[in-house]
Amino acid sequence: MLRPWPSGAVRVLCRVNRPFLARPQVNPARFPSTRSLQSAATDRVPLRKQLKQEAKALKAQKKLRKESEEASRQDWELTVGVEIHAQLDTEAKLFSRAPTSTSDTPNSNVALFDLAFPGSQPEFQAATLLPALRAAIALNCQIQPVSRFDRKHYFYQDQPAGYQITQYYEPFARNGYVDLFDYDGIAPEDGDRVRVDIKQVQLEQDTAKSQEYPPATQLLDFNRVSHPLIEIITMPQIHTPATAAACVRKLQAILQACGAVTTGMEMGGLRADVNVSIRRRGEAPGQHQYDGIGGLGQRTEIKNLSSFKAVEDAILAEKNRQIAVLESGGVIEGETRGWTIGSTETRRLRGKEGAVDYRYMPDPDIPPLVIGEDLISSLTESLPTSPDSLVTQLTGPEYGLSIEDAKPLIELDDGARLEYYQDVVDILQSLHPDQDPQTHAALTRMAGNWVLHELGGLLTKADRAWDDTIVPARALADLVDHLQQKRITGSIAKQVLAAVFDGDRRPVPQLLKEDNLLLRPMSREEYVALAETVLAQRPEMVEQIRSKGQLGKMGWFLGQMMRLGEKGRVEAPKAQEVLQELILGKQ
């Protein structure tokens, strides 16, 4: 069953489709629209045939690619380290009282220091520390009692001071980790769990937003200057592109769950850089090392990846490029590369000789950041439950949900859907306090199904955003309860849900009663009578079932019974039972 997504929440929850990354020469469907136009004009291949051919070619290519990926994986070990920049959810900028904003009139929220006016000085906004700390705690980091700010120098017009204030020498958090599970979308070869260590988390300033109008115009919006960011640096411990993408996705989910950030990658609130190196398996360890991990090949850095797919595609492309270079006897240069969405190869931005010496210098105007143990512990206590523990909880005995249902429940609507679900379960629990665990699990599973799929389906169909008042939790709980008690049929339940969704505010029990929807169980005699009526319509089919054992044809009779029977009274299992009895005799 397709899971319904509200249109507003564009989120990547489940595993993204493995990217289609074909080499140009073997890619016949690169520009499908142009191609189909041409072919229609020339050789007049029927559209259906053409689509079939294309699908076939795609499949073949995927297989080919999968095989070559596997082959190269046997020969080469890929190593990836990830750096994430995430905009913190704060009211003020990092070093001025100017408000943060993403949508205000350009250059309307700018203080003197943000523009690096002569004589202006930084004013650290302590409140910006809170989301940063929440993130670091959620990432299992050790918060440093004392950290400091440094200046990272480079000239660019989006950098008013000529330097960015960051935490290079002494970041505020170190030594964390993030656990990635199979349900997070890690590569199959990584098994069911991978732990990626986090080297450090640092606070820093964002730059101004540039808008290019080629060839000769560029607009600058200084509203973004000094927006607080955290940079999260993982250890180079990732070995597949899919797991790297899963890592970025998981980091975003954790940051959102702990309320550290407002927007994700899709809104530009999160950006990733990746370090990519390869080394031939079975050879002596490489000569290179970074972030304390040695034995690696020469790495390149791919900057500014702005989607999960870009992370995966860029790493894959860069890995293949490096393999191609090495296999043809070349040498990998330590360089910075870029990635354009939809391209097949990373492009060189600047080489080693053009490498920027950032001339890190402790900022002489900003005092050290001293973080007290009491602040850390109070933030730790107030931290919302992590997505991973929620998954464990939802898939555990208490709720018994499948992982496929648990994940969207957690991630949809910033947790509002989960809260709603828990309300429904609480009400069900209060209706039947002494339920045995098995019945309870069946009930919670059913509730999950209705919250996600039935209610979700209605939302999608109506193109409405999530709102927990459209169908009050109480109404849904009553509905699920009636259904589970077999006091209404499934189709009635759907019908009633739709009515409530469309604004019927009567309490569900009253509604069921007034509209005469409660199931009045049919007697056995009634079932038999109904069955005999439908059987009489097609005696030859009855014969076929009996003689040739074509049991599949029984479904037609069942359907007829459901249709002919009084609405909402025919229970499919009972009807089936009677049909079987009448056709095949008592078993």
């Binding site: 250059n107 000085q121 105007d365």
Partner: protein, 621 residues
Amino acid sequence: MHDTLSHSEARADLSGEDERATIAYMRRIAQVQQRYEGNFGYMGLAQHGSNIFDDRNAQKWNIFRSSYTSLAVHFYNIVGGRSFVMNYFRFEFTTTTIATLITVLPMANAWIFSTTAGQWDGENNRRCTKASSSAGEIIDWENEWGSDCTLRVYSDSKCRNPKSAVDGRLISIKDNICTRDLPTTCASGILDKFTSPFNATIVDQLEAAGAVVAGKTNLDEFGMGSHSVHSRFGAVKNLRRDADGRDLSAGGSSGGSAVAVAADQCYAALGTDTGGSVRLPAAYTGTVGFKPSYGLLSRWGVVAYANSLDTVGILGKKTSSVRDVFSILNKHDARDPTNITSSSRSRILSHLQAPRLASRLTSSPLRIGVPLEYNISELTPSVRQAWLLSLAHLQEQGHTIHPVSLPATKHALSAYYVLAPAEASSNLAKYDGVRYGTRSDGPDSDGQPDGYLYANTRGNGFGAEVQRRILLGTFSLSADAMDNYFIQAQRVRRLVQQDFNAVFAAAHPFAAAAASDASGIDRSTAADVDVIVCPTAPSPPPRLSDVSAGSSPLDAYVNDVFTVPASLAGLPAISVPVTVAESEQNPDADEVAGIQVIGQYGDDELVMKVGELLEGRRLDG
């Protein structure tokens, strides 16, 4: 494309609260499209920004120029080029004088008059009659040509209720301190048309106390220099000349402030002292120059050269006038993150009120330290003589002289010339002409398509000395040199601080608790002095021709050898003029030298008091 932002609108916007003002200002600028010229030109925003400033400044500068030529009222063009004062008018106001002014200034639509009394348009202008106006008030007045005049009324000591010791007094401001009403150029080409949208805290504090900004004074570009010769506006000249009548250095970098004081053009002047930039000019011009403890005076609005060393300093004819200004500025300012907090200030205060330390200012004789390492071979005989006579004078007054050792001193100068340029290279990275300041004409980046947007702007805007220090700092911060230079220099800085802590009887107020146990033994064997007395500079002022273009920068750097240690340690230090009498018959042959008094951190009052004991003494050999 030109915005229609007019002069008066800009003023209205910028006169509000700083941040809101900037926001409004930027919003206007945002409406202007930024434009690259060719592939790699500059952004229109910058160009436009400077256009706004252009207009405003053009009016200002016209006014100043006309004041030189037409009025010649109390204006001393001392140093060639722009020495210091822009708007120095101090005379009794009558309707006639105002009318005269207006006759010669028909083009003026913004003008600041300083009157000596509260009533500016009557007969009795010397009387402080509150009825018509009050001190500090700005009065808009329309002249007969219909353009606006602004009169600022201030009162002086003749008023019955002066607001403070500097009420009505003229204070000159070094031109690297931001003023809203006057340009702030830092004597640099890159800011030559820049006016800050806000006042430095110290300027606000002075104006609130009734003082009047006399004008902005010349300096070495961004405070980098020891002779005030590295200025867009030309070198500052000392009032004194050598025996052959040749021009002498006024010292730097606050040379303009020192000369303004020496020429009696103001009651006191503000300077900045990063490695001696207030004390050295004081020594060369025969004035008093005081660098307070680091962090006592606000640096908000003081254009940064080397933040960890930059200290606002005060110049005056006498220590008493310096003290007047210091007591107004010595307050916490939350906008300067390096400013000492109110709670730390009270800690210092209670530390100083311990009986042993409090008595130094009243009864007990002082223990004067003489650093042996400062008796260098470069010391000229006249300066050594002044030093000896000063020590002898103090001894005569009952104080005791003790040799002390400051062994790290010989490395201090090198450490300073690593640290200060390193911070400077970082601080000056912001000057690109994009958001403010002056851009070079035409496309920038030397015609390279991928070049920087401001290669030419920075190349043309900065003078040679500034460029030299930016390069020095860029090198010492580079990954390969960092450990050998910057980190090493920081170690030396720590040693210099330890040297001072080892010889002063008073513990460093912020280290007092921590050090009381650890260094207890050291302290008993140390000299335990109250202040250190030494020369400010190793020689009298050199000839301007010897320190101008062409001479080795290293020669200039040597002048800072005695002033840099106190800067590295953040200690209060004062330079006072001491005269060595040549002969009774010929006082013109007297040599004046600057003698420096250095105290423990927070001992600013003691330093000024000892300075007062020596200031202006004519001592016989």
